[in-house]
Amino acid sequence: MRYTPHTASDKERLLQAIGVTRIEDLFGQIPQFLRERARIALPRGLSEVEVKRRMASLAAKNGTPESWGFFLGGGIYHHVIPSTVDAVISRSEFSTSYTPYQPEVSQGTLQAVFEFQTLMCELTAMEVSNAGLYDGASASAEAVLMARRVQKGRRRVLLSRALHPQYRSVIATYLKNLEDVELVEIPFTESGQMDLQFLTRELDERAICVVAGYPNFLGIIDDLGALHEACAGYGVFLITVTTEAFSLALLKPPGAWGVEIAVGEGQSLGIPMGLGGPAFGFLTCQKKFVRSIPGRLVGETVDHDGRRGFVLTLAAREQHIRREKATSNICTNQGLCTLAATVFMATLGKGGMRRLAEVNVGRAHETRERLVKEAGLGTTFSGPFFNEFVLGVEGLSQHLSRLAAKRIVPGISLAPWYPELQDSLLICVTEMNQREEIDQLVRTFSGQ
C-alpha cells in the first residue's frame, strides 16, 4: 500500500504486541454509527505515472508567460528566479523539517531565518523583522492590529483607496469583529498619490494609523515624507504596504521615511507566481514595538561552550504560550518561502538587486512612453512609478479580445475595483518581458 510500509506480518506483530487481534479493536471509543458511515467514496489510488498524467492535463489547460505575452502585476510579479533558489529549497533537510523547536538540531533553519530577518531589515531600512507571515494582505491586517495594540484607546484606521483592493478586504475582515474600530478610506488625486488635504482633514488623536501602498496598487510612488509628517503631528502610525518588494531595491526605503511599521508581500523575491501562493508576507517595525510584533522571531545566543547559535525568542508573545492573549494566532507560517527569498537575495546580492530593479524601471517607462506615443493610449496618473502604470484604453474590451487572439494579456482591468477608472489597464513590465514581446504589445495596441 502507498507510503505505508506495513506488511501483513508487520501488522500481525504490532497487533500482538498491543494485545488486540484486529485494528478495529483500537476503535473502541468510536460510536458505532460513526464507524458505519465512515467509508470514503473516492476512486482508488493511482500510480505515479497516472498522477503525473492527470496533473499534466490540468496544467495544459492553463496559460503561462512561457506561451503568452504577459504584462500582469497587481500584487504578483513574474520575475527571474536564479537556479540556486530551487536547488536550496528542494533539499529535504530544509523542506521536510518542522518549526525549529529543538535548536540543537535546527541551526540550519534558524540561521537562515536570522539571515532573512537581517535582509528584510536592510531592504526596508527598519530595525526589526519577524520570520514572516502568510501573505501581504494578512501582514497588513496584522500590522493594523499591532498598531491598535500599541496605540491603546485610539480607534480609527485610515486606508488609502490606492491600497491593493484585496488587501483592503482582508483588513476589513480581520477588523470587523473587533469593538469600535472604524475604517476610513482616503482617496487618491490625479497624481495617483494619496489626497493629502483629505487626509489632513481626517487626521486627529483618534486615529491609530494610516495605511498606504508603497508603491500603491496603481503603481504610483507616494511621497511618504509628506504623509509621515502629517501623521506625526497626531502620533498616528504610518504603515506602508509594499506588494512589489523588488521596488525597495531602488526606492528610498520606508525606514528612511520614518514609518513605524512596514509590511508587504515577498513573492517577487524568488518565488514563482503560483496563482498567488505560497509566498510570504513580511512585517518590519521600529525596535521599540518588538514586543507587540506578531509571528516568530529568531534571536542570536550562545551554547555552553560560547559557540554562536540561534533560537526562537520572545515566544511569550505567541499563541502556544500566551494563548488567548497572544499577539497573533499564527502558528504555521511560510518558512520555506522565506528561505527562498533569503537565497534569492543572497544570490543577487547588493549589485544584482539594484541592477535588476533599474532594468524594471527602464523597461516599464520605455514601454509606457511607446504605448502613449505610438499606440496613443491615454495617460492617467502623473505620479512616479516603478514597474507598473495605469493607462486609459478606448474600447478596452475589443482591444483585449484582439490581444488575446495574439496570445497577449496586456494587464489588469481596474473597473471591477474602481468604477471611476473605466477602460483603464494596470500594465506591468518586468525584466522578464522581452523586446519582441513589448514590440508586439505596442503594435497590437496600435491596431496593427
Binding site: I30, F94, A112, L119, S169, T173, P272, R307, N333
Partner: protein
Amino acid sequence: MSERSQDSNGRKIAPRLIFETGSPGRSGFFWPEDPKTKSEWIPARFLRGEIEGFPEMGELEVMRHFTRLSHLNYSIEGQFYPLGSCTMKYNPKLNEVVARLPGLSLLHPLAPLPLIQGALELLSDLEGMLAEICGMDHISLQPAAGAQGEMTGLMMIRAYLTTKGNPRRKILVPDTAHGTNPASSTLCGYEVVQVPSNDRGIIEAKKVEEVMDEEVAALMITNPNTFGIFEMDIQAIAEAIHEKGGLIYLDGANLNALMGIAKPGDMGVDVLHMNLHKTFSTPHGGGGPGAGPVGVKKFLQDYLPVPRIIRGNEGYELREDLPNSVGRVRSFFGNFGILVRAYAYILALGSDGLEEASRMALLNANYIRSRLKGHFHVPHPETCMHECVFTDRLQQKQGVHTTDIAKRLLDYGFHPPTIYFPLVVSGAIMIEPTETESPETLDAFIDAMISIAHEAKENPSMVKSAPHTTPVGRLDETLAARKLILRWNPSKAGNDQGKAES
C-alpha cells in the same frame, strides 16, 4: 560532509552568516544590461543607494553556504520525527515534481479566467474530495494555515449568529486545546471559557452543559483530542451545544486519525478546518507553508470567504457577490502550490490508501504506547488513536525532566516528541509516529526511549547534561530573550566565528 563543520581537533565550528562571507563587488547573479534610472522617471529624492548590508557572494559561495546550513537540520527524510500533533509523515517526492510543472507554478491569480481553467478545476475537485473525506458539505481552500482556518471558521459562526440576531460573547475551549484555538477566538472578538477534561483525558457532556448558555457562540473541539484520545461524548456534547443555539467547531488538525474511520461531519460538527500540511503530507518547510481549508455544513455555505469557485457553462467562474460572506481572509486563492501537492497526494492514495493511512497511524501509535507504558507514566488508561502521551513522573524522582529526556533523545539520533503539551498534564511527552514509519523504526526509537529511562535511573546527570553529540549544545534561551539580537549587525562583522573556513 559539506564545509568544515569542525576544526582539526574535531571541535565544531559555528557556520558564518552570509554577511560574513563574500567580497565587495561580487555577485552570484549575471545580467547583461545595466540601465540607469532617469530622474524624469523617478525624482532622486525617491531613490536609495545600494542596499547597505546586503551580501556579495558568488553563486558557488551561496550554494555552499546553504548546503552546509542544511546539514545542520533534522528532517523527515533524515530520520523519524515523532512530533505529537504535527503529523510528520513522509512528504512524497512525486508531489514536489508535479507542483513544479510550469503549467501549475507559473500562473497569475489575476489572469483572465480562460488562462486558469486547469487551476480552478483542480481547486474545485479538491474541495469535493476534502468534503467527502471529512463529511462536510462545502469547503473553502483560502485559509493559509490551520490558525487562519480557525479564524475563518469562527468568523462564519459569528456572521451566522449575527444574522440570527446575536453574535454571542463566548467560545468554549477544552483545557487540552492547542494555543491557536483561544488565540483565534480572541481575534474574532470572543472571550474564551475553558472546559476541563476529565481523568480519562476527554471532556464530558455534563461539564459542557454546566458552562453552556445563550451567550456561548460555539464549542471548539479537537477530535481526537491532543491526548490522541477520541472524544466519545461528542454526540451528546453536540446536542447540548446545538440545543442552546451554539455551533460546533472542529479543529481538524488530527484528521489523520479519522480517514475512513469516522467523519467529523457525522459528529454534529458545523464548521471545521483541516491542516493539509499534516494529514495530506505537504512538507512543513521548517515552519511552513501549509494550508488550512475550512469545511461547513450547507446552512453555512453563504458565509464562506469569497471568491467561491463555481462551474458555469463557459467553464469555471468566480463568485464574489455573496453578501453574507465573511469576505476575504487571504489574497488570491490561498496557498495554491500546497493545495496542488495535497491534491496529488489524495489522487495517489485514493479512498483505499487514505483509509489505510489512518489505520496504520493508529497501529503505530498504539504499538509505541504499549511498548513504552512500562517505562514512562501514562496519564490515561484507554488505547489511543494516532498519538500517545506520556509524562516524566517516573523520571522526576531522579530529577530528570521531560526536557532532559528530549535533549538526550537527540544523542540517540532521534528528534524528540512534542513536549509540555497538552498543558493539563505536567511534563507531557506527546508522540505521533504517523503511518509512514516502519515497525523497525518504531523499535529503534522505543529502544532509545527505554535506555534513556534506564539512564535516568543509573546516570541521571548524563541525561540532564544532554545533548552531547549535536552541532551545538543546549543554547541559552534566556540570554537570547534578554540581549535580543534579532539581526546581524556590521559592528560584529568579521568576528572570528567560523574562521579558517569559507
